[in-house]
Homo-oligomer: 381 residues x 2
Amino acid sequence: MDIAVAEPAQPRLPPPAPAWSPARPRRLALGLIGPGRVGSALLDQLQRARARLALDAGLELALRGVAASRRMWLDCDDPELNGRHGGAQTWRPADLDAFAAHVRGGEGHALLIDCSAHEAVAARYAGWLAAGLHVVTPNKLAASGPLDRWRAIRRAAAQGGARLRYEATVCAGLPVVQTLRDLVDTGDELLAVEGMFSGTLAWLCNRHDGRQPFSALLREAHALGYTEPDPRADLSGADVARKLVILAREAGWPLSLEDVEVESLVPPALDALPPEDFLQRLDALDAPMAARLAQAREAGGVLRHVARLDRHGRASVRLAVLPVRHAFAHTRLTDNIVQFTTRRYCDNPLTVQGPGAGPEVTAAGVFADLLRIAEALEPAA
Amino acid sequence: MDIAVAEPAQPRLPPPAPAWSPARPRRLALGLIGPGRVGSALLDQLQRARARLALDAGLELALRGVAASRRMWLDCDDPELNGRHGGAQTWRPADLDAFAAHVRGGEGHALLIDCSAHEAVAARYAGWLAAGLHVVTPNKLAASGPLDRWRAIRRAAAQGGARLRYEATVCAGLPVVQTLRDLVDTGDELLAVEGMFSGTLAWLCNRHDGRQPFSALLREAHALGYTEPDPRADLSGADVARKLVILAREAGWPLSLEDVEVESLVPPALDALPPEDFLQRLDALDAPMAARLAQAREAGGVLRHVARLDRHGRASVRLAVLPVRHAFAHTRLTDNIVQFTTRRYCDNPLTVQGPGAGPEVTAAGVFADLLRIAEALEPAA
């Protein structure tokens, strides 16, 4: 799509008052870990933005390497390839420590982008940050992982003067983590978070009106690619619980995954089946889900998959019956939604809503984090 | 309200990986222009956050002066009063240039907060930014004012290495301007903005169901303090048009107020009346508003006050008939709402909703801007 247009005849405005300026160039070396769907979308976005950022903002981005789980590419292999991912490249066996050292290698600032979903990567954040390497990521494993490790990561960032940002861990590109951060940093008090953090479950609840059995909808969602390859990853609520842990910690609550009361939609009998067997047994979900829907209707409400955090740090993820006038009853398709109720936003909550998954919007959330860090870089000498 | 709690027993987490750290203190001198309702709320918020920011984040804020329209207070009058606004202070006749020079006076970084609604202040931004003074403001006059001046302000910021932030000019503390900025900066293309930017008009439209004449609702809103002292300031749509101009420019459109097609709800015959006479003639609004409501109902829709910007940079502010399933039909009380439709957010828009006015949330929006600038300050030598 093209937004170019004939009128008004005046030229488009340049971006407003940047934190940086072409007169004071900043250089940032980048390394991408995990060139999957999100990582590849991010490389495309960076590549398209590169000339503009250099020209308008004096921000010079240099891609110094890409690491996948088994192999990696480093720009020292062929300096001409710098910035061009794809094409003829020399890949080496992956070694995360060597990769980070290479990206950190030059003068100036360096940043690692973790688009993997791997523990082995999250386990290295503290070391990287302590060494002054910035990190941005949509990987939930660090921010929702063991509390001691998370504390160590924060300490390392403070000590190394490097920054970690993870906006895209919750609702992809929607402004959620930073919004909560701003509320807390400006002295507001969080009283409650209520949200729907699974586009898959939102879609299933929206469509589940009793005309089709739940299993038919689940098969349709699976075929559309709305679910994980094994839909139990969505139905278990575990991914939603991770997002709630991230928000709880952002608000200061030392929560761990096991503190979240999670209602799984997977019947216990199907928990341990191999994926292909599970997909043959989806109709076991129909009776319990039909019963929940009937209960909701009896109560005059709708059934939604809701994550909640209260002002005492209590967290839950479950199917809930909501009044038909509730905002969550009116979301569309796979929309995510989050509502922050605070001391300042107490009559009506602050609400953010929209598509909360997908490679492009997730990559954009990571990209915005990268730009936020770049704003605070000291110019090259 | 108090969010302190007995369990979980672990201590609250400190704020996450800050951009700054206690080991590298940053000092920021502040000057507040306009100690009205928003300015006073901000001084309270700053005062409460000051010790925490110094301790946790190494950010040392020093209030060096407060300027009202006729008088000002400077901390040099009594160093002991630094940081304490209120109480026995020496006020001098206000002189904005002397005020800015005083705030800029020391070593280190300085920032002016414009919580006035005055042209005379907005007219000085370019000079201040060129001199390296940062500016944060909820004052719409610069960002929606003459285009040449706005361009000069942006240039001055780029040249002076200083930053101007104005998140609270649109929907107060809701994350709107920065969200649009992030979309554009990461290479997304804005296709449409649709919003309700007036809490007053949202409340009036929500309540206007035909059971009461429009003038009765308007009198109630006036009595509740939801309207400006002269409600024509709300009904004219001019304030909403300013917000739309700010968003349009953020997306690169060189729009001016006169480019916005604005439908005023004030009958032409009442335009020029003195305020007290206007308040006696509110029933002149009843017939036209009843007719609009009837039209909307005939079409099976609801009546809402909507600001729109399309992908060609065309902007309008008017009463619109929306389908009952439209998101704007379900807002509550005086909620503001904004929807960004972009190349990436095209099936469903990115939506931000919540209270978009009031001293506390507006001040918090300004405070968050201040913190965003503070993140990027170089530490004191």
